[in-house]
């Protein structure tokens, strides 16, 4: 895209705390020392700025993800894979009844540019929105520098498998990925691989658990292996998933280590449907008509398994995809 085609980002001069305000359609976003304030023609909402920035970070890094990214029970986005809804109260039964909900649709590049600008301006140098609570500084206070290195991390997306020639790299002390304090007991050995000459691009193995033990981010699935449209997207989790993910397709979780508790609610209304307690070796599907949020008491390894078929958005739009993966 040339400079002349870059989407316009509408922002103000910095306020007395040093932060710019942003507008998208009829939505406006402003922050002060403690809070993010979101306004729209029929209502307003306030969030503590730390959870707001953590949610905003995931929404951008995941390219608006699959389906709905609820920042909380009021604000969020819906990905239509080319354009994106920004909403307030759309998936909140009471906001809808009171008719103060609001939704606007934006071209993907326009909303992404505004969100990226806002994140870059509102994240201070001591705060990393991807880090666990005890591994980062504060999000609060007056503007103090920035942390562009943290907020512009590239999501790891293997083409075939991590560690293969011409693919994503393994993690090591030398490459800056040290073992996380909560995974100090994880075996760091690599598999024994004997390769006959000529087969260097096909005989390959790596330690996924070592790789995950060295992740410097939480709640950020990255692709490690690709079987056509089947993507293994493992991630390390600690504390609370900063968004409430509203599915538009079935998603699977395989708990590789430790434990996560998932709160599951109805995607449209937010009414509770189930709690899913997952321990090492547990496998569970998230149906396509729910929203979910995870709680991980200790840093854990979770395999998120996604179907990235290009046919799915059309099938979803036509109502052709099942809500549950298996009937029995």
């Amino acid at each position: 895209m040339s400079t002349s085609q870059l989407p316009e980002v509408k922002s103000t001069e910095p306020n007395e705390q040093g932060y710019r305000s942003y507008s998208l359609g009829e939505f406006t976003f402003r922050r002060d020392e403690h809070f993010a304030h979101i306004d729209w023609p029929t209502g307003r909402h306030v969030m503590a700025v730390e959870p707001f920035l953590k949610a905003l970070m995931r929404d951008i890094a995941w390219n608006f993800f699959y389906g709905t990214v609820n920042f909380d029970s009021v604000i969020g986005t819906v990905n239509h894979y080319g354009d994106v809804d920004l909403f307030a109260g759309r998936f909140n039964e009471d906001y809808r009844k009171a008719e103060i909900d609001h939704l606007e649709n934006f071209p993907h590049d326009e909303i992404k540019a505004t969100f990226e600008a806002m994140l870059g301006d509102w994240v201070n140098e001591s705060f990393d929105p991807f880090a666990a609570p005890q591994e980062t500084g504060s999000a609060y206070g007056d503007k103090s520098g920035n942390n562009m290195a943290a907020v512009t991390r590239t999501r790891v997306t293997a083409k075939r498998m991590i560690g293969m020639p011409d693919d994503e790299l393994l993690r090591s002390d030398e490459s800056g990925y040290t073992v996380n304090r909560m995974f100090a007991d994880v075996d760091q050995s690599e598999p024994e691989v004997k390769v006959e000459p000529g087969y260097e691009k096909e005989v390959s193995a790596f330690s996924l658990f070592k790789y995950l033990s060295r992740s410097d981010v939480t709640w950020n699935p990255s692709v490690v292996s690709v079987c056509k449209d089947s993507l293994y997207c493992p991630t390390t989790e600690e504390f609370i998933l900063p968004i409430i993910h509203g599915n538009d397709r079935v998603e699977w979780f395989i708990q590789l280590s430790d434990e996560i508790i998932w709160e599951v609610a109805d995607r449209e209304t937010g009414r509770p449907r189930a709690n899913v307690v997952m321990k090492a070796g547990d496998c569970a599907a998230m149906p396509a008509d729910i929203r979910h949020q995870g709680f991980s008491p200790k840093r854990s390894m979770l395999l998120v398994w996604e179907n990235n078929s290009a046919a799915l958005p059309g099938m979803i739009a036509r109502g052709e995809t099942p809500n549950v993966p298996v009937e029995f």
């Binding site: 096909e202 330690s207 079987c227 509770p272």
Partner: protein, 165 residues
């Protein structure tokens, strides 16, 4: 200061969570535990523990020596317990039907050129490349989680392995 212990499961030592339904059926979550599934399986049975359209993840109890297999697409084997040796072969004459999904067993000992060998322990992931033959072996009962596509040998035992109530 807290000393953290990372909890992994195994065939002989796993703790299962579950679905606590509030206003839903537990069946909608297709909840199982791969160690429990493997502990009840025969060696080398390919039991689906996750399915998303045509794609599956299979839990395999690895014990002894498997038949040689081949698939028309890449597969990925993650050892979840124990130790598994994988031999890879570039076959002379055995081929996978290009439109087929999942792997199929190869009769007997295929001829071809040795590609290499992988010895994988818990947490190690190996590529099983498309159109190559592979054979797994494990001296002690181990568990492999296989990323693949639904095939003729995939076993779907959902009523037996999943939480129903």
């Amino acid at each position: 200061m807290t000393e953290y212990k990372t909890v992994f499961g195994s065939l002989t030592n796993y703790e299962k969570g579950g679905v606590e339904a509030i206003n839903d059926s537990p069946q909608n979550y297709v909840f199982s535990n791969l160690f429990e599934v493997a502990s009840r399986a025969k060696p080398w049975e390919k039991v689906a523990v996750a399915k998303n359209m045509e794609y599956v993840i299979e839990a395999i109890r690895a014990e002894g020596v498997s038949p040689w297999r081949i698939a028309a697409h890449d597969e990925f084997a993650l050892v979840m317990d124990g130790q598994v040796t994988i031999d890879l072969l570039d076959p002379d004459s055995v081929t996978a039907n290009p439109t087929s999904t999942g792997s199929v067993a190869v009769d007997g000992e295929p001829s071809g050129r040795k590609m290499g060998q992988i010895v994988a322990k818990r947490g190690h992931m190996s590529l099983l490349p498309a159109n190559r033959c592979y054979r797994m072996s494990a001296r002690d009962a181990s568990v492999v989680l296989l990323q693949t596509i639904l095939g003729p040998d995939t076993l779907q035992r959902w009523p037996d392995i999943c939480q129903r109530h």
